[in-house]
């Protein structure tokens, strides 16, 4: 991908999002709005913003069009895979956070994140995962009086 493609692609993607939101505005109910309110009301206000966004988006598209086709840094697919893996990991974490609880999900998340961030010393990564998770738990539980999900473990019995 070159610079021009990135700029044009970015502007086009934003314009698609704007068009989608514009379509959504047609579904906003105006039953409770007065005639005067309809000028700047629940449907008109977002449409004004989307109208200005369309103008700016078109200008960005033009700006992208005249941008030189300079080469961008080549995409490293192994790095992209790492980013995708990190996202999948976070999604898995969120899905399990409440059912399994803090103690069973956060340390593995931190350990895996260390691995993805190229931690070379896995023992150190394990220690950071355990100690940082416990420290944060203590801060929330005793410092901020906030109970984090206990899941299958009852934290009250641990502390």
């Amino acid at each position: 991908m070159n610079l021009q493609q990135r700029e044009v692609g970015g502007a086009a993607a934003l314009l698609v999002i704007v068009a989608f939101f514009f379509y959504l505005t047609s579904q906003i109910d105006l039953a409770f709005s007065s005639d005067l309110e309809k000028l700047t009301g629940p449907r008109a206000y977002p449409r004004i913003i989307l109208g200005v966004m369309t103008i700016v988006g078109l200008l960005l598209l033009f700006q992208g069009w005249v941008t030189p086709k300079d080469k961008l840094e080549k995409t490293n697919w192994s790095d992209q895979r790492a980013v995708g893996f990190a996202l999948a990991l976070i999604i898995l974490f969120v899905s399990l956070f409440e059912p399994l609880g803090y103690l069973l999900t956060v340390p593995p998340l931190v350990f895996a994140a260390a691995f993805l961030n190229r931690a070379q010393n896995l023992k150190a990564a394990l220690l950071v995962a355990i100690f940082a998770s416990l420290t944060l738990l203590i801060i929330f539980r005793y410092g901020l009086n906030t109970v984090l999900p206990e899941g299958v473990l009852a934290i009250d019995q641990v502390f």
């Binding site: 692609g9 939101f21 790095d79 803090y102 998770s133």
Partner: protein, 500 residues
């Protein structure tokens, strides 16, 4: 003027022990966060926001502003010792402080930077106390048309002056306005863009938006491009020589601080420009006997550090008095006040004077405390620079996710966090600035409320209504200027490109 001295005299009674403790924690954490390349004060303030839900407003501001002040200064430490500015603001400091360190004068350079940060902060705090109440007293007379125009001005300037493409800045500001429009309509209660979700009826929550955009996207970016860790020497301590510059070069401290405050007041410019402008001003007044700029010049370090620290006080003036955030960190601070159910702006001076006084006290004391904290813990902070980057990112990830969840114990907040993390990551890759989204998001409700009130009062005749309001007209003219500034920058560059 008597109010000014009364406020100063009442400082000792304004802060409780707990509030002072949060200020010290904030400064300490801020200095460390600012010193670590790839983290910075913005991310630090964003990560601390979830913790402030459990605090009173002044304690919350003490923690956040401590991180802001400490973080603005912390960048100078890594700039001096390892030659990498922890924050972009410290890039000008690096030019002279790092050569000093290379010649074995790291202690002198660090003490100089700490002293300049402290003085810049105190001066900007004094200006804040003197100017913000007067500006708020003037702004309280504004009607909805003026308030809407000022909100629009904030949005326009941050786009025009945020560096890079102004169009991209404006697009992101508008995106922030659009995200703020999600939820129930504030007047009629009709659902907008909620997809039938009850969770979205109350709008997009500020914390997942902030943390996702800045923290999660940064983690993803660093997985892609890790930052290298440097070996550092921690042999740094306070230097008495640096304190002598207070007598030898007082005008540089004053001039640089004044410049920093002025630039801070102008929305969207920020500490980087302030530091470099001040640096250039110092070059004009160079003494023949001094080393060259870029080769360990004392005035270079003073100028850049005093200016970038003074920006903070300046940026708080429009935020507190007009609800216009002067820079991205101040936009997040504004969000920090809003989560405490406090609306910044002139009304805050009437409705929450105790919080205003607390903020003033926190700011001045924070600037003063920077000196002992910065100098006493400098060795420890420099040792922390040796921490491997992965460990820092792991802590950032953990605090971000768990902190966001803890605010309302709502798992959908973490899904929102991930969604904005991905959006932020993609926008960074396409070189779109993220800060204007936050500015648009926090200004969105203010703008919408006042824009729609203007529509109702004027019976839909905006032009006729605004024509009788000189302040609104003046602000709209200023907006037009800010819209044209990038065009004047863009056209000559295109002509230059085409000329042989």
């Amino acid at each position: 003027m008597s109010d000014f001295f009364q406020t100063l005299a009442s400082f000792p009674s304004l802060l409780s022990g707990v509030q002072l403790m949060f200020l010290v924690i904030g400064i300490g954490a801020g200095v460390v966060i600012g010193a670590l390349p790839g983290v910075g004060p913005l991310l630090g303030v964003v990560m601390a926001i979830p913790f402030t839900f459990y605090m009173d407003p002044v304690s919350s501001m003490a923690l956040l502003m401590g991180i802001y002040q400490g973080g603005s200064y912390g960048g100078a430490l890594s700039a001096t010792v390892i030659g990498i500015p922890g924050t972009p603001m410290a890039a000008a400091t690096l030019l002279d402080a790092h050569p000093m360190a290379l010649r074995g004068r790291a202690s002198y350079a660090v003490t100089l930077a700490t002293l300049a940060s402290c003085i810049g902060g105190v001066i900007s705090g004094l200006v804040l106390i003197a100017v913000a109440p007067a500006l708020a007293a003037f702004a309280i007379k504004f009607g909805p048309a003026e308030a809407a125009a000022f909100a629009l001005l904030g949005l326009t300037t941050i786009g025009a002056l945020s560096g890079g493409s102004a169009l991209k800045g404006w697009m992101m500001g508008l995106l922030g306005l659009l995200i703020a429009a999600i939820g129930l309509d504030p007047v009629s209660g009709e659902s907008r863009f909620t997809f039938g979700s009850l969770y979205l009826d109350s709008g997009v929550a500020l914390v997942p938006l902030l943390v996702g955009l800045f923290s999660i996207s940064e983690i993803l970016r660093q997985i892609e491009k890790p930052i290298r860790v440097h070996d550092t020497s921690s042999n740094v301590s306070a230097s008495a020589d640096a304190f002598r510059t207070l007598i030898q070069r007082p005008f540089n401290y004053l001039r640089s601080s004044a410049l920093g405050v002025f630039i801070g007041i102008l929305p969207g410019i920020g500490g980087v420009t302030a530091a470099f402008l001040s640096y250039r001003a110092a070059m004009v007044f160079k003494k023949p006997s001094d080393p060259d700029f870029g080769d360990g010049n004392t005035d270079g370090v003073i100028a850049s550090e005093a200016a970038n620290s003074a920006v903070a006080g300046g940026a708080l003036i429009p935020m507190l008095a007009l609800a216009i955030p002067g820079d991205p960190i101040v936009a997040v601070l504004m969000g920090g006040l809003m989560v405490q159910a406090i609306q910044p702006g002139p009304g805050m001076f009437l409705n929450h004077p105790e919080v205003i006084d607390g903020i003033f006290a926190v700011f001045i004391l924070g600037a003063i405390l920077l000196l002992p904290i910065g100098l006493l813990f400098v060795r420890l902070i420099i040792r922390l620079l040796r921490l491997p980057q992965w460990s820092i990112m792991c802590v950032v990830l953990m605090v971000s996710v768990v902190g966001t969840y803890s605010v309302s114990r709502e798992i959908l907040d973490i899904w929102t966090l991930i969604a904005f993390g991905v959006v932020g990551y993609l926008l960074r890759k396409a070189d779109y600035p993220l800060a204007p989204i936050v500015v648009g998001f926090v200004l969105g409700p203010i703008f919408e409320k006042n824009f729609r009130r203007t529509g109702l009062i004027s019976q839909g005749d905006f032009v006729g209504f605004i024509a009788d309001r000189p302040i609104t007209l003046a602000v709209l003219a200023l907006i037009l200027v800010f819209l044209l500034v990038p065009l004047f920058r863009y056209l000559p560059s295109q002509i230059d490109r085409k000329s042989p």
